[in-house]
């Protein structure tokens, strides 16, 4: 049956377990979402998330094994998100993974959550050429990475303030669309004119792959508040469309600049915001005539899941990057930190 890795992901508000064969075939991918619980609070409440993880993780693991048609004894290794994320949430997954590794006498593989997002692209049945540029865009991250090989991956750009998904959530709140804001804003934007309201785009210099979304977010908030103060009717769809267009323009430009600068053969998108259709469309459009392979996972693999953890874990497992039992969860884990720390 090859190398069977159980992936575990509990870094934020999804409790997830998956079985991945040989780093590429998803045998099961189970996610217990907490979105409904947290939407009442307008965002993820850490203690609430941790409490939910401990209730659901063991049943989720059982389901993942059952759906894959295997038992605990069939596993080759267990891979888990070590960070970055919410500490209390990470610890639940990490301790479950350590227990599995210890009890089954199989290797423990510690994975970086950002790295895991990128590896969703290795589950698409497509060849992934090196070197590649990856852009991970979510509620917590707007990271641009350059990878020469599986073990040589480095961060070349990140957000200086709000993550792109965070800006989506905040704008959605101002527009009264609730939480999470990404999908709701995207739906509303479809009915609007992206050019009706001019909004700023921060490019932060030609050779920077950093991003900033607080400017456009503030511009939206000010526009809406000013209009409401004057008693004007705000066309919410136009605001949503204008905001989405501004964010997508910046993300697409930065990603493609990085591809060109590094001479990358592929561009890999990942993270919750990569599910945005407009972003997908603009990037595919601008790479059409270029010799760049663009990989974008389906929406279910863009948001947090454990299959991506299993896939990322597979390549660490292959190169013998095994974590000891005394590793800890690291809320602010950076990509360069070794798993054994």
């Amino acid at each position: 049956m090859g190398v069977l890795i159980l992936g575990i992901e509990t870094s934020c508000d999804e409790t997830a377990a998956a079985v991945v064969a040989d780093g590429q075939r998803i045998m099961s991918n189970v996610i217990a979402s907490q979105v409904e619980i947290h939407s009442r609070f307008g965002g993820v409440v850490p203690e609430v998330a941790s409490r939910r993880h401990i209730e659901t993780l063991n049943p989720v693991i059982s389901t993942a094994l059952a759906e894959a048609g295997i038992g605990f004894m069939d596993l080759s290794a267990v891979a888990v998100t070590q960070g970055p994320g919410l500490l209390g949430s990470l610890l639940v997954g990490l301790m479950a993974a350590k227990s599995l590794s210890f009890a089954l006498n199989i290797p423990l593989v510690a994975v970086n959550h950002i790295e895991a997002h990128i590896y969703a692209n290795f589950l698409l049945g497509e060849e992934v050429p090196f070197p590649f540029v990856a852009m991970v865009v979510s509620g917590g991250h707007t990271d641009i990475l350059y990878a020469e090989s599986h073990s040589e991956m480095r961060l070349v750009g990140q957000t200086r303030d709000d993550a792109a998904g965070e800006a989506f959530d905040k704008v959605a709140r101002v527009l009264g669309l609730g939480y999470p804001g990404g999908p709701a804003t995207e739906r509303l934007a479809r009915q609007g004119d992206p050019e009706a309201i001019p909004l700023p785009r921060a490019f932060l210099g030609e050779h920077s792959f950093d991003t900033s979304f607080s400017g456009v977010k503030t511009a939206v908030v000010n526009y809406v508040n000013r209009a409401r103060l004057k008693g004007e009717i705000v066309n919410l769809a136009d605001v949503a469309a204008g905001f989405e267009a501004a964010v997508v323009e910046v993300l697409a430009t930065k990603a493609l600049d990085a591809v060109q600068t590094y001479g990358a053969k592929a561009l890999l998108l990942a993270g919750g915001v990569a599910a945005n259709k407009k972003l997908r469309g603009v990037i595919l459009d601008r790479t059409r005539l270029k010799n760049v392979k663009v990989l974008i996972p389906p929406p279910a693999l863009c948001t947090d899941n454990a299959a991506m953890v299993g896939a990322a874990g597979y390549y660490r497992f292959l190169r013998g990057d095994i974590a000891p039992f005394d590793i800890n969860a690291v809320a602010g884990l950076s990509l360069s930190e070794n798993s054994s720390r």
Binding site: G42, P46, I61, L91, M95, K98, L100, A103, A163, G272
Partner: protein, 232 residues
Amino acid sequence: MSYVLGIETATPVLSAAVVGKTGLLSEQSVLGERLHSVRLIPLIHDLLVGCGITLRDLIGIAVSIGPGSFTGLRIGLITAKTLAQIFGLPVVGVSTLLALAAPFLTGGIPVCPVLTSRRREVYAAVYQGNGQDVKILVPPFASSPPGIPKRLAPFGRVILTGEGAWAFRTELQAIFPDKAVLAPEIYNYPRGAVVAALGLKDLTTGRGTDALSLVPEYVRPPAITGGVQGEG
């Protein structure tokens, strides 16, 4: 032989033990709250090796389920639950306060175990015991330290135990020594051996539960400080 692994992670002292029908086989305890997640698995490994047994020799796992440090409880519980899940073992959730009180439960004298919680509050309960028979006089509760004497009013002389009782002994001064006596400081934290022994008692009388359904007894609801932004 019937061995039970006991896990205690609710307080700053990490403690685990293996007990059998004849009593304690091995116990390890170490102070350092933020290191439970780092130390727990190596400690269980050493413990089993020291006893010359493996996880397959266990008839069940007992774990301290609170009240105590929320994160600490989850570290112990997820470990107990996952180990039990793999081997199809029953688990027993042992009240952290009962484990703290157990060494003094004799002669029918009420025992009030006290642990500090995060916000200058305490978790406490009142138990009464005579040999194998333990009664819960007041179930675990959270309160300010001055709230404890009120809860003890219905009882005669009481034994107070635990680091919470020591930490707030000035606040509790009025009840010493006529109403209450303080147990020695060395018993300030619950021990893995006690958790395992209480678990063994439950397991041999068929009161173990399914690993998947065990949850901590937090006593306190989560602090809602406004949601942080989502991930995804």
